[in-house]
Amino acid sequence: MNAIIIFIQKAIAQGIVILFGATGEILTEKSGNLNLGVPGMMYMGGIGGLVSAFLYENHAANPNGLIAVLLSFVCAFLCAALGGLIYSVLTISLRANQNVTGLALTTFGVGLGNFFGGSLSQLAGGVGQIALPVTSAAYTAKIPVLSNLGVVGEIFFSYGFLTYLSIALALFVTWFLQKSRSGLNLRAVGESPATADAAGIAVTKYKYLATCLGGGICGLGGLYFVMEYAGGTWTNNGFGDRGWLAIALVIFALWKPKNAIWGSILFGGLYILYLYIPGLQRSTQEIFKMLPYLVTILVLILTSLRKKKENQPPASLGLPYFREDR
């Protein structure tokens, strides 16, 4: 029983990073932009939060948890949104190729994260691994009463606030895309920008906003990883392939954030399943680690086989739109 609870907790902890990434990327892709810079923006978000919290904790006489959280949260979001902005300027205004720009953004963002992350300990005076006791304590603070409710408390209420924010955000984006006027406009832009343009929707504005905000949300995934998962520390290349997994989750969730919620927990579970199956050889463990990717491929094939209209990617995904090109 205990092992199962720990497995669920760990699966959720793994899942939240990619849930943020997937929610952000869905918002971006709904505008027709396939941004392969998700890993880069995650690193940018993570490092933005880490550096700002580090500077605050080291310069304030009496660091306050709430201020540290607010500061690092805003910085992480802005840093990652900046990545989205670079991508937007290049692909929307300067009409560069989306895939190539996304990959370049990944190179840049991962490099930026590792550069600052690796240099932080040097900044701190070469004390080795940095620590952010106040900030990470604030991020990992559990809900006071509810988390003591035995099994229920441990499964549902034993996480920091970012976990609940990620789920709320995914639900909000689902509502936004399906029910709000701006959301419908955004989807129109992603399906057929020319039609949207003719209907008087400001295509460029929607694309810019969706890409920058989506980038910022991806960055929160990085923030979660650094602050809650890693407890306020940095390891170079520590994010592993989570950025790409987020892109995989977008497909798995069929471009619907509410599917991404349970999808992310499933992916997180598949990601660590090998640790919990007894009697696995080291080699078979490696085969088990393929699962999230194999499942994604399977979903990709099935959706293309069934050709159900509501399960398809946005029609103009990856295609540039220039009004005068018609």
């Binding site: 009409r95 990959l103 190179t107 840049f108 490099g111 550069f115």
Partner: protein, 373 residues
């Protein structure tokens, strides 16, 4: 760059954008060189702001690190050749508008089977047979890894960008799976140098050059690919499918066949790149054998507009930066990731400058005239 962004949202834009019919060759290159120079200035600013170092000294260190000694120059050249090989490999697929983001995995698979042959047969077969087996095996492995998404794309139009991307990680896991069996010494979780004493399966020097074979093979592939794409019927079919599948179908081209054939070629050449990496360079296999080159190659191919000769230049430039960064790291006690940041900035500028090659900005005079009235 930002200027452009804000102008688009203005109601009365300052500039009108028109597509250029064509641009003089020297003008296009002047824009590109200008963009690279601008990016170097931007990088210098970033270096200065972040580290307080003299950017000129940093650039000097980059040059020293990349081509400072004869050995370094050769290593830079070797890696540039590998990058070139992968870029050439993905070119036909990209020309067909098939987004093969899976070069990383195809290269890994090629390297994996090469390593397998070296380990199991490296000391048993005669060199000629051994190299033939290694080459054929790597070609087949890369081909299979490229064909899987191609089959689904041809039959059911499954999104190839995402499919090939996922296959990269399946390949990575296959490599870690094999490392468990091949690790040496036991418990190190790494394969180590294969056949260190007998050098079985190591590409021998050619004409007295350590990396002679790499040079000959890659340049050969580049040349053949150039001719194939430019002068052969199949190369023409690839171009037509890339421009418009409907046109291709109308002209009687079997689109599915072209997709499958082109991806086999693309995957096979990636496999050869894996062979060169394992047999001709590192003599070992790990998950980082491909080292992101599959992704960098996409940028190289795209920036070069699929021109083989420009590709040589671009791949050399990128590897140059990467090698130089190792030198900066040790000389100035910086982090090696600095090179990624600088490379990223340079790429942004080069990607952005293509806009000014393809489009012309015209000043709008309406406002002034109205004011005059």
């Amino acid at each position: 760059m930002n200027k452009q962004a804000t102008h688009v949202t203005h109601k009365e834009p300052l500039f009108r954008i028109t597509k250029r019919d064509g641009i003089a060759f020297w003008k296009a290159w002047a824009i590109r060189v200008g963009a690279i120079l601008l990016s170097l200035v931007a990088c210098a600013l970033v270096i200065y702001l972040l580290t307080d170092l003299n950017p000129i000294q940093v650039y000097e260190a980059i040059v020293k690190g990349a081509v400072g000694t004869k050995k370094r120059t050769w290593v830079t050249l070797r890696d540039a050749l590998t990058l070139l090989c992968i870029s050439v490999a993905i070119t036909p697929a990209f020309k067909m508008k098939f987004w093969n983001v899976g070069a990383e995995g195809q290269v890994l698979m090629g390297g994996l089977v090469t390593a397998a042959v070296m380990i199991y047969a490296g000391d048993r077969l005669s060199p000629a047979v051994l190299f033939l087996v290694m080459l054929v095996a790597s070609i087949l492995a890369g081909m299979v890894w490229g064909l899987i998404p191609a089959i689904f794309k041809a039959k059911w139009n499954t999104n190839e960008t995402l499919f090939t991307l996922m296959l990269n990680y399946v390949a990575t896991q296959l490599v870690t799976f094999c490392i468990v069996f091949w690790e040496n010494p036991a418990g190190s979780n790494a394969v180590g140098i294969i056949n260190p004493l007998t050098e079985g399966g190591w590409l021998p020097p050619l004409f007295g050059l350590t990396y002679g074979w790499n040079l000959v093979i890659v340049l050969g592939i580049t040349l053949v690919m150039y001719i194939y794409l430019k002068y052969s019927k199949q190369g023409y079919e690839i171009a037509v499918v890339g421009e418009s599948e409907n046109t291709a179908r109308y002209a009687g081209i079997n689109v599915k066949k072209v997709i499958l054939r082109t991806m086999s070629i693309s995957g096979a050449l990636c496999g050869i790149a894996g062979f060169l990496l394992v047999s001709g360079a590192s003599h070992t296999i790990s998950t980082s054998t491909a080292g992101g080159r599959g992704f960098t190659a996409i940028i190289v191919a795209w920036l070069s507009k699929f021109n083989a000769f420009v590709m040589m230049l671009v791949s050399f430039l990128l590897v140059f930066m990467e090698k130089g960064a190792i030198q900066i790291a040790s000389q100035f006690n910086l982090n090696e990731s600095a090179s990624d940041v600088l490379t990223g900035i340079i790429l942004f500028f080069v990607l952005g400058c293509e806009f000014f090659i393809n489009y012309r900005l015209n000043r709008n005079h309406n406002k002034k005239e109205e004011a005059a009235k």
